[in-house]
């Protein structure tokens, strides 16, 4: 419970976007100086609207992408610039669950082979031994052995996601990066999958980096939350602190958009004006100042520093806090 499993410090990722034949290459800063850490057995969620860089952060941590700058420590090992051949150990410890359970399972492979693939890659277990583990894991995720010889397209969305979870689970990973694992599912199925993820966490002491745009999902599963906007984490802290005492104007606006299941209760709805600025041409100063309802003159020029709010581990980047 006490040791840090994942520590990310100041990672950046920019993509070069070619424009025309003679045009200058544009730089898209997808992730801009993101730092966070996750204790073993806990869940850290990244929330934000689409295009804010939360998925890119997930892909950087899983090293599907290489960060341009910064450090990623997983279980005491720095992996941010390692070559694929040096990542073998890390690839066993870290597994991913993807958003689209329809696209993330190879349609030409049987469920049995999909789930056994990590074993095939990382272990020298016999076919029989592999199949025993597959049957075991199928039960753990709420499927049964008779499902193993079918193809993924024969299943419903929720069941496919269970197959994806089984594949992630079979290596007994320490960290699972779940990139919007429930947003492609029906709401009725979402809760089942979330509960499954929680049950697995308490049973196997798994750490989650959970990426989502859905605050009600995040509230259900997280211990800590990082709110991302335009490639940076604007506020981070324990779930209760974020939900009960949001500090950053963006977090306040996000939270005000969550519907409350009580028609009598009226609360103030903060509606943001304008669109998310293009990450190719981010605003100077505080990235949020173009849409901020309480923006000040200094926000247009000076990037706000990360400030600790009174409560432990609750950080916010806003001039209102630092002043």
């Amino acid at each position: 419970m006490s040791n840090k499993l994942l520590k990310v410090t100041g990672i950046r990722k920019s993509f070069e976007i070619p424009s025309g034949i003679l045009g200058k290459k544009k730089i898209l800063k997808a992730v801009n100086d993101v730092s966070f850490e996750i204790m073993e057995g806990q869940t850290f969620s990244l929330v934000g609207e689409s295009g804010c860089g939360k998925s890119t952060t997930g892909r950087l941590v899983s090293r599907l992408l290489t960060p341009s700058e910064g450090e990623i420590w997983i279980d005491g090992e720095e992996i941010s610039q390692k070559k694929e051949s040096q990542l073998k150990k890390m690839r066993q410890k870290v597994q991913m669950i993807f958003q689209d359970p329809y696209a993330s399972l190879n349609p030409r492979m049987k469920v049995r082979d999909i789930i056994a693939e990590p074993l095939l890659i990382h272990t020298k277990l016999s076919k029989l031994e592999q199949q025993r583990l597959v049957s075991e894991i199928l039960k753990v995720v709420g499927l049964n052995e008779s499902h193993a010889d079918r193809y993924a397209h024969e299943f419903s969305g929720g069941q496919r996601q269970r197959i994806g979870i089984a594949r992630a689970l079979i290596m007994k990973p320490r960290l699972i990066i779940a990139d919007e694992p429930v947003s492609a599912l029906d709401v009725s199925i979402q809760s089942q999958i979330l509960n499954l993820l929680k049950d697995l966490q308490s049973e196997y002491n798994i750490t989650y980096l959970f990426i989502s745009h859905d605050l009600s999902v995040v509230e259900h599963i997280s211990d800590y939350i990082g709110v991302m906007y335009l490639g940076t984490i604007v506020e981070s802290g324990p779930k209760d602190a974020i939900f009960s005492n949001p500090q950053h104007p963006y977090t306040k606006a996000l939270l005000s958009s969550v519907p409350i299941p009580d028609p009598k209760l009226r609360k103030e709805r903060i509606i943001l004006k304008g669109d998310l600025p293009s990450p190719m041409n981010p605003p100077a100063g505080c990235p949020f100042h173009t849409r901020c309802p309480v923006s000040m003159e200094m926000c247009k020029t000076i990037v706000p520093k990360v400030t600790q709010v009174a409560l432990d581990n609750h950080f916010v980047s806003c001039h209102l806090m630092s002043s």
């Binding site: 066993q92 993807f98 399972l105 190879n106 890659i121 419903s156 809760s191 089942q192 259900h220």
Partner: protein, 298 residues
Amino acid sequence: MEFTSTVTEKKQVVPKKKYSPVREFWVNFKHQKTAFFASMFILLLIIIAIIGPSIAPYDPYKPDYDATLQGPSSEHILGTDEYGRDIFSRILVGTRITLSVSTSSVLLGAIVGTVLGIMSGYFGGWLDRIIMRSSDVMFAFPDLLLAIAIVAVLGPGLNNVIIAVSVFSVPSFARLVRGSTLEAKENTFVEAAKSMGAPHKRIMFKHIFPETVSSLIVFVTMRIGTAIIAASSLSFLGLGASPETPDWGAMLSMGRDYLGTASHVVMMPGIAIFLTVLAFNLVGDGLRDVLDPKTKNE
């Protein structure tokens, strides 16, 4: 909010009446009438290629100077050539040569082209640039001219014809497979395989290659027609099969001196080539409609 962790969706797994991919293909392909008959014709050719030499009424090599350049008759149903050899027997025996030369050259080209194409599309970067620019250079030559050049270097003979035809097939396959690879590697399951640490070879051949197979099957079929023409042309030019071999192209070449007096000597192997190439192209069209509908308008 209350969450229950019982798995109620389990009930939804009513095994759907879904055809297996092979059966689904067969059902769809049967609706393609032209292609279906063309494929029956190809099947007949394959049978002839296997049993042809044993059902041929005459020895395809043995001259009969009493019966030279005879037109079709009850004795020789497709007539005889300048040495009195039975043309029907020669065409039957030649089927094996034609089919084996064309399919082996196309398959050879397809294998090399596929490996190059997958690597090119998957790795990208300088490897992609080298492979694609070399293909561009090859594309700049007219196919047949390139084949002639290769045979000229290697010397005449059917084996060298196979090499020549496969060499000029390689770039087309490489380009086709590169395209499908670029598309296939965007699939999330390819990313999933990367995230679990699958080696490049496994990703390329287990996850990406199957995605390219349907367009490959179509292209191989189409290409066999082209290869038959190319191999026959080389034989016609005297660069392929030696003149006494009952190769269709060589037979054309032998008969061209008698075009005015005994046109059947050229006509019969010509028709054989025409029908075979047509059949392969029709089957290719049909396969494309069934397997790869999105490339229809290319």
